[in-house]
């Protein structure tokens, strides 16, 4: 019996390693789970980019599923995300609201004028305080918010066609 056990030793070591790897996969160090998931979206009341006199607050979106997309003209990844947003808005499956984060109105407006505006509203968060309420780590980030105003999903980094197809659209279908 003993000699056989000896030959099983490499396998045993390997299995322990696999156990740790399996556990490690769950703890993706890059993924920062948002404490906001399944919590009400923090309220805010911010001026609109299109008309500084008017304001936007999440209350207005009650009763529909929508995306809050945090973006800025200075953010390179947002430019990559832009075509995906445009496609989303063309499909019209859900409303997209922009949160223009730590940006200047002139530059933000220029970007939308030149490459198209996928947003129903763009709220201006010039000092980034609303962003902090939402726990924004980096731009872009997107939040899927349901009819009751609860955050259901958070996308850190740009949304890609893949993410849209495989994660967001199925989720949105369920919510609607």
């Amino acid at each position: 019996m003993r000699p056989y056990l000896r030959y099983l030793l490499p396998l045993a070591i390997f299995l322990v390693l696999v156990g740790f790897f399996a556990a490690g996969l769950k703890l993706n160090p890059r993924e920062v789970p948002s404490p906001l998931i399944d919590k009400p979206a923090p309220a805010f009341d911010l001026p609109l980019l299109s008309d500084v006199g008017k304001k936007f607050s999440p209350e207005q979106m009650r009763g529909q599923v929508w995306v809050l997309n945090v973006w800025a003209s200075w953010c390179g990844a947002c430019r990559d995300e832009h075509p995906v947003l445009m496609a989303m808005s063309r499909q019209g499956a859900l409303a997209i609201v922009g949160l223009n984060y730590k940006d200047t109105n002139a530059e933000a407006a220029t970007v939308l004028k030149n490459s198209g505006n996928p947003y129903q509203f763009v709220a201006v968060d010039a000092d980034g305080r609303t962003g902090i309420d939402y726990g924004v780590y980096g731009v872009p980030e997107s939040y899927i918010i349901d009819k009751q105003g609860i955050i259901r999903y958070k996308q850190i980094g740009p949304m890609t066609a893949n993410v849209l197809r495989e994660k967001i659209m199925p989720l949105v279908k369920g919510l609607q």
Binding site: V32, P33, S34, P42, I132, Y137, G138, G157
Partner: protein
């Protein structure tokens, strides 16, 4: 008989070598593991004095100051709740920017000033160093627990 002795000698030599290697590893671990603390933990006094550790968070907006005629740099690392003043002498990584994630490694002095001997930023502008993200995450959790009112650290002390 002789073969068995030889075998025993091999095994003993192997075990001694293994023991030495294990000792080296443990010893190196003891002195070279670098623990990580968030600014909040540092302010609460949970971080050790006189031992090197890592601190992560955002470079506070407006906190970056240079000293004339030297390479000394002052900045503050914040997790949006608490802040730690950092001093570093040397060249900052390319992606070091105010309001971006950063990880600094060094020691804390008696006045709560963190003397960094290494400053790390990620090689990709869209990602945050994991430790920095961790600090922000913990801070966000604390926020959720206490109240909704978040006090932004003032830009200039």
């Amino acid at each position: 008989m002789k073969a068995r002795h030889k075998r025993a000698a091999f095994i003993i030599a192997g075990l001694i070598a293994l023991a030495i290697a294990a000792m080296l590893v443990l010893n190196a671990f003891r002195s070279n593991l670098v623990f990580f603390y968030t600014p909040t933990q540092v302010v609460k006094g949970e971080a050790p004095q006189n031992t090197s550790f890592r601190i992560g968070g955002l470079v506070e907006q407006g906190s970056l100051r240079r000293t004339k005629n030297s390479l000394d740099i002052h900045f503050a690392v914040t997790d949006t709740i608490n802040r730690v003043e950092v001093i570093y002498s040397g060249i900052l990584p390319d992606l070091f920017k105010e309001d971006k994630g950063v990880v600094a490694q060094g020691k804390l002095d008696n006045n709560g000033l963190f003397h960094a001997d290494q400053v790390l930023a990620k090689h990709d502008e869209n990602y945050m160093p994991p430790e920095a993200a961790e600090a922000l995450k913990q801070a966000a959790e604390i926020n959720q627990k206490t109240s909704k009112s978040l006090v932004m650290p003032e830009a200039k002390p």
